[in-house]
């Protein structure tokens, strides 16, 4: 049983109310169904029906974890999520498999690269983008207990670093600081891209560029205070995401900036997808889209050289 399954089983044992529904997406839920008994329902390839059913169960006092591919749970059933989960603020958590670049070889139909944009657009619904299975489990523990509706970008990969800060929605996690006093670059990122950003750090530090790395954890609510602090303390803020540049973290940072208009702030470099990515094995996708550590480090270095060292930061 994987940690996700253990989490679901633990919560079903602890509470008489949790339900687990899937639209026949059992990739990471192969072992647990018999242990969950009637608390697990596979509705077949019917994402809209799954969300409607979950909303009905939530109205009767249950918390429901729904599970399907990220592209389908968010987009096939979008209006059901908006109407039946968002409007009544129903206790439904929507877990999307293989979001962003993780759909690797599936092709554009399976690429959830606008999911953050559309899900955060629904009032009442939060967005949680864990970077590894440890953070996923810790965050889900919190969200299932809390009972508010959330969209969660699933990731089953093992952690590549230890999380030292407890999960709280709307509180980002600083994963690395080269220099406590000042930074040349802050990388704001989330989900799978955290581990890529982590690999970017030594490449930048080798060039004497001081880096901070921030894992946003939830994009809604978002840690505005952290974003403003980084905008004020760094020369360059990079938003790194396996999502379209519209509506995701770059847009969020732009919104925060306009809302708070700090007098002195960093230049912002968005690194994101501009359209559907070329499908293939994950590492090849990253290389093709310029999202591998070497390409990202090179872009950041070039940006600093051309925008900051020549012209100075925004004042």
């Amino acid at each position: 049983m994987n940690p996700y399954e253990e989490l679901l089983l633990r919560h079903c044992q602890n509470s008489g109310e949790l339900m687990v529904l899937t639209a026949e997406n059992r990739g990471h839920l192969r072992t647990v169904p018999p242990f969950l008994g009637d608390r697990f329902i596979d509705v077949g390839i019917a994402e809209q029906t799954m969300i409607g059913m979950a909303a009905g169960m939530a109205m009767r006092g249950r918390t429901v974890v729904t599970h399907a591919l990220a592209a389908f749970i968010t987009m096939r059933s979008y209006e059901f999520i908006r109407d039946d989960v968002g409007i009544p603020n129903a206790s439904v958590i929507m877990v999307g498999m293989v979001p962003g670049v993780l759909s690797d070889g599936n092709g554009p139909t399976h690429q959830a690269i606008e999911d953050v944009a559309i899900m955060r657009g629904i009032p009442n619904i939060g967005v949680f983008c864990p970077c590894d299975i440890d953070e996923f489990v810790e965050g889900m523990d919190y969200l299932i207990t809390d009972g508010r509706p959330y969209y969660v970008r699933y990731i089953g990969m093992p952690a590549s670093f230890v999380h030292t800060e407890p999960f709280i929605p709307g509180v980002a996690e600083v994963l690395h600081t080269s220099d406590a006093a000042e930074s040349d670059v802050t990388i704001l990122t989330y989900g799978y891209m955290c581990r890529i950003a982590h690999a970017v750090i030594p490449l930048l530090e080798a060039k004497d560029i001081r880096v901070r790395l921030v894992n946003m954890r939830t994009l809604k609510p978002v840690d505005e205070r952290r974003i403003i602090e980084e905008l004020q303390q760094s020369q360059v803020v990079v938003t790194l995401e396996d999502h379209l540049s519209t509506g995701g973290l770059f847009s969020i940072v732009a919104e925060v900036l306009l809302r708070n208009h700090p007098e002195h702030h960093a230049r912002v470099l968005p690194i994101a997808l501009s359209s559907w990515f070329k499908p293939g094995r994950l590492q090849e996708v990253l290389a093709h889209e310029g999202l591998d550590p070497i390409a990202i480090a090179a872009r950041i270095e070039t940006y600093i050289t051309t925008h900051v060292q020549e012209h100075g930061a925004h004042e």
């Binding site: 029906t49 909303a55 009905g56 039946d84």
Partner: protein
């Protein structure tokens, strides 16, 4: 059953229709679709459902979901007549000082779930019915759908799932008034043979005269013993039922009458003179 005699049901239904007509002015309402399901709602709330104004939060209550939400004047008319809401509130129709607008919402006591977008509440009803079954509750979930609403793919997705999950405490009622927004269903997206469709999807299928209280009673009583499959009642109805000058008319679905016309239509409902209607027809929303 038969806690209320047919005469009382008919009197309640007449009053509900008057409420519907009174809501069809000053901004208007979906009059035709409301009149077609008025008798069904009167029957269910008066005779069939284990529900009352005192039971709206009772765990053991039955649940009615209005998936074709645009016929909410019929539902609110029933609520006003049976004591769920103060009838005076219906005068607040479309006022932002109250929550009585063109589709149902849970700010009104007795409304179990909001609707408006078609094709949603079958799946919501499946979820509620399964929840009740798991808790060992006697709850029956009745979902009122329009025949035009059966154009939505989610209805058939839900029909497959309900059969697969053997949700036998679920009853779908199709208000088969033969019309969708602008024309007859059979002229746009033909549904017939509708009974065969549901039967082939694995449902118990029943047909009733949606304006005949005795027939409704016999039909709903008969399905209470059914087990292992969901139930559908295809209720044959008439759009604009009870008010001949607007019944069976494609152009009298959404109506925004003058106050004078409303008064004449109420006279017509009471079997007096026929209304002379001059207001705009077919205000498509």
């Amino acid at each position: 059953m038969n806690v209320v005699d047919t005469q009382t049901l008919e009197r309640t239904a007449r009053n509900v229709r008057e409420h519907i007509l009174r809501m069809s002015t000053n901004g208007g309402a979906f009059t035709g679709a409301s009149l077609s399901c008025a008798d069904i709602l009167v029957y269910l709330y008066s005779q069939y459902l284990r529900i009352s104004p005192a039971m709206v939060d009772d765990e053991y209550r039955d649940i009615l979901l209005l998936s074709k939400g645009h016929d909410v004047p019929a539902l609110y008319g029933v609520f006003a007549e049976l004591g769920y809401i103060d009838p005076a509130r219906l005068q607040h129709h479309l006022s932002t000082n109250d929550s009585i607008y063109w589709h149902p919402n849970r700010d009104i006591p007795g409304v179990e779930f909001h609707s408006g977008s078609l094709g949603h509440l079958l799946s919501v009803g499946i979820g509620m019915a399964i929840d009740a079954r798991m808790k060992g509750l006697p709850t029956r979930v009745v979902v009122i759908v329009g025949d035009g609403e059966l154009n939505e793919g989610s209805m058939w997705e839900g029909a497959l799932t309900a059969a697969a999950l053997k949700v036998d405490n679920l009853i779908m009622v199709v208000d088969r008034n033969g019309f969708q927004a602008n024309m007859r269903t059979e002229e746009l997206i033909p549904l017939e043979p509708l009974e065969d469709k549901f039967r082939s999807f694995g449902w118990f299928v029943h047909q009733a005269d949606g304006h005949d209280f005795d027939d409704l009673d016999q039909t709903f009583k008969a399905l209470m013993t059914n087990q292992g499959k969901p139930n559908v009642v295809i209720a044959i109805t008439q759009r604009g039922k009870g008010v001949p000058s607007i019944s069976e008319r494609a152009d009298r679905w959404f109506c925004d009458f003058s106050l004078h016309e409303v008064m004449e239509l109420i006279d017509e409902l009471n079997g007096k003179s026929t209304a002379e209607l001059t207001s705009e027809t077919l205000v498509v929303r």
